[in-house]
Symmetry: C2
Subunit: 204 residues, 2 copies
DNA sequence: ACGTAACCATACCGGTCGGTATACTTGCAG
DNA sequence: CTGCAAGTATACCGACCGGTATGGTTACGT
């Protein structure tokens, strides 16, 4: 299959990728035809198939690009606003998410892609799972830097809250879901940190 | 628009509804054609259009039916296993979810539908939001029966965990996400109950 | 008995889909 | 100078899409 990578990509290919990622996210995978992508990217179907092989190949490349974009976005946000480990650094993920969602009002693009791809043996499915694992591992590693006990478990809890907030904000149409999730996460992190400060088995 | 209701539905219409709901959930809305639904329901396109007016009308009826099914399922589960208010009753929602997901391995059908319908002015969008509101309100009312302080806020937290668990189990491919969510919910409910037992402002 | 609602069978419509073919232009590297 | 990769433009392909038309059968309520 030889998935198309970002490195050494033709200018036109990059333009196609950007246009397609936006259209796929905004309208869904099956709802967008290859011809429309070609038109809006000011190119032709021929070039798209020359560069990406098939619509499925393009979808795969788009999801990979979106994954890379999100990772770079969160990483940059945390590096800039909360470079040192601590509770604010952990909360930086949700802060970044809030900023990200200002321009991504249709929910999680990977969950949406999963909705259309699950069950098919589509080559992009591992990318979706990998993205979820990345964000989960981000929480885990941020907690680990705080020397929190059971960082793996606590990180997975925060990731669940993270995902749930996105769903409630979009499909659930609950505008303040992110605020609720933030308060909950803050409480959980505080509890975890406190548990780390107390010596083992010294519960009063 | 006059949405098609379940009441007084033709036997064939009910068969169409069941087949379509299953196909739409299993493969996605746009991925399933009307002709395929007709074939698998042992009927004809003509009858489908006579009963539901359009594919969009059928989609709307399917989501309404799925919503009703889920509500009936959870309600019956709790009534049977945990008829009295208490922590186990609250946890009954996730227990029911686990049982539900044994036959629904493609994630939340409403989130999946949202993925394909958001942005279009589709008539079924309110049904999706209503379903999310119903499950959220279920948590709130179960907590209210426990005389928990801030039941509304605590219920919304539980609902966020609920939705996050589904996403992590499916798109996130994390099989134990439900167990993590269950432990987290249990802790949250226990804390909330404890807070209700303590008199106001008497924090030691 | 008659009308009507429900249903089946089948053919058809215009449009769009993913994907291919052909032919031409441009720019750069050997 | 030449060859090749990249791109444009356009026409085309079979398949499938949502939706409609026609015509016929069965069963039931009045």
């Amino acid at each position: 299959m030889s998935t198309v990578t970002h490195a050494r990509m033709t200018p036109t290919a990059l333009r196609i990728l950007g246009t397609a990622e936006q259209l796929f996210y905004q309208h869904g995978l099956r709802a967008v035809g290859v011809e429309r992508i070609a038109d809006e990217a000011d190119t032709t179907k021929k070039t798209i198939y020359d560069r990406f092989g098939s619509k499925d190949g393009l979808i795969t490349a788009c999801l990979q690009r979106r994954s890379d974009r999100w990772h770079a976005f969160v990483t940059a946000y945390i590096d800039e606003h909360h470079p040192a480990p601590g509770l604010p650094q952990v909360m930086g993920v949700l802060d970044a998410l809030e900023q990200w969602m200002a321009d991504n009002t249709r929910g999680c693009g990977f969950v949406n892609a999963y909705a259309e791809l699950a069950g098919t043996g589509h080559e992009a499915l591992p990318i979706i799972a990998a993205e979820k694992a990345w964000t989960r591992d981000l929480y885990v590693s941020l907690l680990s830097a705080l020397a929190v006990p059971d960082a793996d478990l606590r990180g997975r809890e925060l990731a669940i809250v993270h995902e749930g907030a996105v769903v409630q904000m979009t499909a659930g149409e609950q505008a303040d879901a992110l605020a609720v999730a933030r308060a909950l996460q803050q409480r959980l992190v505080a509890e975890a940190v406190e548990a780390g400060l107390r010596p083992v088995g010294s519960h009063p």
